[in-house]
Amino acid sequence: MRTALALIANVLLSAAILAQPTPPLPNRPDSVKFAAIGDNGTGGRPQYDVAQQMVKARAVFPFDFVIMLGDNMYGGQTPADFVKKFEQPYAALLTAGVKFQASLGNHDQAENINYKLYNMNGQRYYSYARGNVRLFVLDSNQMDQKQLAWIDTSLRDAREDWKICYFHHPLYSNADRHGASVDLRVLLEPIFVKHGVNVVFSGHDHVYERIKPQKGIYYFVSGAAGQLRRGNMSPTAETAAYFDQDQSFMLVEIAGSELHFRSISRAGKTVDSGVIPRQPKTGATGLTEDSHAAEVRR
């Protein structure tokens, strides 16, 4: 009888764990927690599904901001579109006080920098800090000299432990549709390397891809929070992990000298995860992957 009760209790406990929408990250109270979405603003069912997964994830992993990797809005960009493609899908997060910090993609209107809920304060490129992390947001649609000088100076002057950059066009990508924006890589990578950028997030290709560290920097492509190009990846030796079968978004936690990441599909499945230790100045890397990472390799 006691064994049977223990078995039932065990089954119930397992079921409860399985029902949890997202396996938790370290979830430390004093850590910096955020989500990342790219190419999300379709207003379609998949965007709403991903948004729902984000709400579920936040119930166990209380991230307080979301980085938007561009193409935040497709098609019409009227006030009604902002409701349908942004305010409605993320209503629960917005109500809970989650801040969205946007970058612009090639489908966004330039005037969207003034949209209050994107928190861009009328700027194409800007930076902000959370705890020991400084995030730098760039406008990769137009990489003018002024912006290059700004990122060079801002990275140089940043005193936080972690330097994270994000923008729309990926410097490294192995998706077939677009691939890497080498024109931008030639301009930005030397600056990132010089100033010890730790991690870079981009969108544009409608897949998820984690790139092996390049010159000491970790790159993520996460451009499938609304759009999807199923089967569009052609992984190369640069590819550490990828997922191109469904929409996805990312959860990120920076706890001390470690960055934990988790990529989650529209169905709520973890498709990649791991831990990035903060790189020493030499640029050496020491990523440890969780078991989920193996699942996404073909």
Partner: protein, 382 residues
């Protein structure tokens, strides 16, 4: 059947090499960037300033020289009243494609490309002249199209100065330096200086610095200086080589600088036309659609408006000729690439506009085919 030797019009070496070297540079750039992108962009960025902002000064100076000579007796701009109709028509030829461009890129879901609308105003004068001669041989519409092209490019340059996001205008100081450049050129002209070097170094140098300092594109720095260089009493014709024995200052300038300008043009194509095919999205089609549809419509509307205010079409120029002419001036090529490089910094938008400029070259064969179908010019079926 017209023998090919007579079917292909004679042009100056400058114009011919313009028509060959720029596409050659562009072709090499396209192959290079799509096979070894990192080395291409490292190279292109390293020499971009030297090519786009310095060497191209001489290309635009030589184009300006053609325009200055056209104001002399025998020239298409002489007397100036002849220019009125094409100038008025150019407003239509500029406005309609610009408006179409803004609408089309929005419909193609790349609204940020709208800010590059001045590229829709660009007209490549050498291509215009060449294609117009192929279709019309000798016809009053040819000077009409050249004038329209010059006016449209001038409007484009004005638009560039107004909307360029790269401009960090320091107007007053820049204007003062520019005034000093013009005063120097006037002084040299009054002192009857025959050598082009003082104009180039003193006036041109000041003008280049004024443009650069003001945030305007310095490649255009010699354009306002060229009218002060003494020129021949009569225009030898558009894109006609200056004879080696020519003594006037403008011709000496051309003889000295035509080869460096051609090399500049080759490198201009090489540096600017490197478009990775992966960067392209639907918005790329915005410019070709805008100019191929909008230029003929704009020319017709512009010419119609000019006639409403009492101006007259040149004799023997019909509405069908104007329609074909509108297609011919849809090719922006060298000027389109230049406007794009001046307006948009590196990134996807620039790549898409560059490719749009290259795709709008299709207007030239389209004009030839349309002329054949519509029975216009010498390509009309006998």
């Amino acid at each position: 059947m017209t023998p090919w030797r007579t079917a292909v019009p004679r042009l100056s070496r400058f114009a011919v090499e313009h028509l060959l070297l720029l596409p050659l540079g562009a072709l090499i750039a396209l192959v290079w960037v799509n096979t070894r992108p990192e080395s291409y962009f490292t190279f292109a960025y390293a020499i971009a300033f030297a090519v786009n902002d310095v060497a191209m000064v001489f290309f635009f100076a030589l184009i300006a020289k053609e325009v200055v000579e056209a104001t002399a007796p025998n020239g298409v701009l002489h007397p100036w009243r002849r220019a009125l109709l094409p100038v008025v028509a150019s407003i239509g030829a500029a406005t309609v494609p610009a408006l179409i461009h803004i609408q089309v890129v929005d419909a193609l879901d790349e609204p940020m490309l709208a800010e590059a609308w001045p590229v829709a105003l660009a007209v490549d004068l050498a291509v215009t002249y060449f294609v117009a001669r192929v279709i019309f041989r000798r016809h009053p519409i040819i000077p009409f199209l050249l004038l329209l092209g010059i006016a449209s490019d001038a409007l484009g340059i004005l638009a560039l100065a107004m909307v360029s996001p790269a401009i960090d205008v320091r107007v007053m100081a820049g204007a003062l330096i520019f005034a000093a450049a013009i005063a120097t050129a006037v002084g040299l002209r009054r002192a009857r200086v025959k050598s082009f070097w003082p104009y180039l170094i003193a006036a041109g140098g000041l003008s280049w610095y004024a443009f650069f300092y003001s945030g305007l594109h310095p490649a255009l720095a010699l354009v306002p200086i060229m009218p002060f260089l003494p020129h021949a009493a009569r225009d030898p014709g558009f894109f006609v080589d200056a004879p080696p024995e020519a003594k006037d200052t403008l011709s000496r300038f051309e003889l000295w600088w035509k080869y460096p300008a051609q090399i500049a043009l080759f490198f201009f194509g090489l540096v600017n036309a490197g478009v990775p095919f992966g960067a392209l999205e639907a918005g790329t089609w915005g410019l070709p659609i805008a100019v191929i549809v909008g230029k003929p419509v704009g020319v017709l509307i512009g010419a119609g408006a000019a006639m409403l205010i009492g101006l007259h079409l040149p004799s023997r120029v019909t509405w069908r000729d104007l329609t074909i002419g509108g297609l011919i001036v849809a090719v922006g090529f060298s000027v389109g690439l230049f406007f794009t490089s001046a307006l948009l910094p590196p990134g996807q938008l620039r790549s898409e506009m560059y490719m749009g400029v290259l795709l709008s070259l299709a207007a030239a064969p389209l004009a030839v085919v349309a002329a054949k179908i519509m029975g216009v010019g010498r390509l009309a079926p006998e």
